[in-house]
């Protein structure tokens, strides 16, 4: 009796062997064997792939470089335009901040009339602390008008043309202003210097000064309105045997970054020149 002929047994054996292999593979028994067989293939695949991509890049890159260069130029151009815009906007923001501060200051003193002006230059001589502003007699500016910022006193109008004016800063060596110490109500004289340092002179010896005391304009002499902040005391020079003591003053205004100022146009300075005693023949 021949149930299974050799021709039918072979496929059955093959099927059983395959089924066994599949079961062994599923059970994980063939993993090391598979790894040993696959790893060289993957390595070869990687090697070929790398070379192929290198070759592909070599062939296609010139076209990409050209397009990338073009894109780069466009983006660089856009970037520089944006940078310029940022700088312009930052500049406008700074100017707006200065103007808002000046506006706040002007609103807080409604009794005064102001003309806001931008500082456009400085005196060519290094000895002179003068600045040039972009408003002149056409805007109502006249010689002697006091100039302030939101921080305090800047100086006064020294010379005027139709569209520009020159201001003498309080730090100029030729500037002397009558001031008052807020704490003691003592009158004194504020003197500028070539270094921009301010010195308070003619302070009576009995006056008790301390660092931080505020210095305001006194209004004496009629050159400046009273009670405008000038600065504060930094150090005191008190020498025995001298008639007066002196003090170094830190100006309230930062003159190194002076961008915009307010000219008080309704203040009429008093010319006391005719009242000054002269030698008569």
């Amino acid at each position: 009796m021949k149930i299974l002929s050799p021709g039918k047994v072979r496929p059955l054996i093959v099927a059983l062997v395959l089924a066994g292999i599949v079961i062994m593979a599923l059970a994980g028994y063939l993993a090391p064997l598979l790894r040993m067989a696959i790893n060289p293939v993957v390595d070869v695949q990687s090697w070929i792939s790398t070379r192929y991509m290198a070759l592909y890049d070599f062939i296609t890159v010139p076209r990409d470089i050209a397009s990338l260069r073009q894109q780069n130029a466009v983006l660089t151009n856009a970037n520089s335009q944006l940078q310029t815009q940022i700088i312009q906007l930052q500049q406008q923001l700074k100017e707006a901040e200065v103007l808002y501060a000046l506006l706040d200051f002007a609103r807080s003193r409604p009794e005064n009339e102001y003309v806001a002006s931008a500082v456009i230059g400085r005196d060519p001589s290094p000895f002179m602390s003068y600045v040039i502003i972009d408003h002149g007699s056409d805007d109502g500016l006249r010689h002697g008008m006091p100039v302030v910022t939101q921080q305090g006193l800047v100086g006064r109008v020294d010379a005027v043309t139709s569209s520009a004016a020159r201001l003498q800063l309080i730090t100029d060596p030729g500037s002397s202003i009558n001031v008052r110490l807020q704490s003691t109500q003592t009158e004194a004289l504020l003197q500028g210097s070539i270094t921009g340092d301010l010195t308070l002179e003619m302070i009576p010896q009995e006056t008790k000064l301390k660092a931080g005391d505020l210095v305001l304009t006194s209004g004496l002499g009629g050159g400046y309105p009273s009670d405008v902040l000038v600065g504060q005391v930094v150090s005191i020079q008190h020498r025995e045997g001298e008639l007066f003591q002196s003090a170094s003053i830190q100006p309230a205004v930062d003159f190194s970054s002076l961008r915009a100022v307010l000219v008080i146009t309704n203040f009429k300075p008093v010319d006391i020149e005719p009242l000054t005693p002269t030698l008569s023949p």
């Binding site: 000895f127 010379a159 270094t195």
Partner: protein
């Protein structure tokens, strides 16, 4: 020939604008460069220039108008400095760069010492020692640094205004 004089107006105005807007805001200690003076010194030093004094007068008047220095001090200072430059041109014309440096040195000293003396006479509280250390010497250094570039630029301008005559 009025052309070189006319060219002087925009050149000197531009120098003055650059001076007041830029260089006066760039102090070295408390000293600043004087571009207008360097321009007229470089102009006066050039061999081919025939209208130097007109430039000096224009520069002096312009700066005197803008500056608060009294008694037209910039005008007298520039005339003195340019006179020195003119004198130097005749003596050391073979070395124009050396002449520029020497005239910058002496011109700066003349200009700033004159300004200091005038201000002291006018009643400003200026200490001579402080003025020397903090203003005059730093200004001198600034001017010497800028003298050669200014000389080169003005030399180009001279070449354009007074082109070399070519014999055919």
């Amino acid at each position: 020939m009025i052309m070189p004089v006319l060219i002087g107006i925009p050149v000197l105005l531009l120098s003055l604008v650059i001076q007041t807007t830029a260089f006066s805001r760039l102090p070295l200690l408390y000293g600043t460069a004087d571009i207008v003076m360097l321009v007229i010194l470089a102009w006066m030093l050039n061999e081919r220039v025939k209208h130097g004094w007109e430039w000096v007068l224009m520069a002096g008047i312009m700066v005197s108008f803008v500056s608060a220095l009294p008694f037209f001090t910039p005008l007298w200072g520039y005339l003195a400095a340019a006179g020195l430059s003119f004198w130097l041109k005749k003596r050391i014309w073979q070395s124009p760069v050396l002449a520029m440096l020497v005239s910058t040195f002496i011109g700066t000293m003349i200009m700033l010492l004159l300004s200091m003396v005038v201000l002291q006479i006018n009643g400003s509280a200026i200490s001579t020692k402080e003025a020397f250390n903090l203003v005059i010497l730093p200004s001198l250094l600034w001017n010497l640094i800028l003298s050669i570039p200014v000389y080169s630029i003005i030399n180009e301008l001279v070449d354009w205004v007074y082109p070399d005559e070519v014999n055919v």
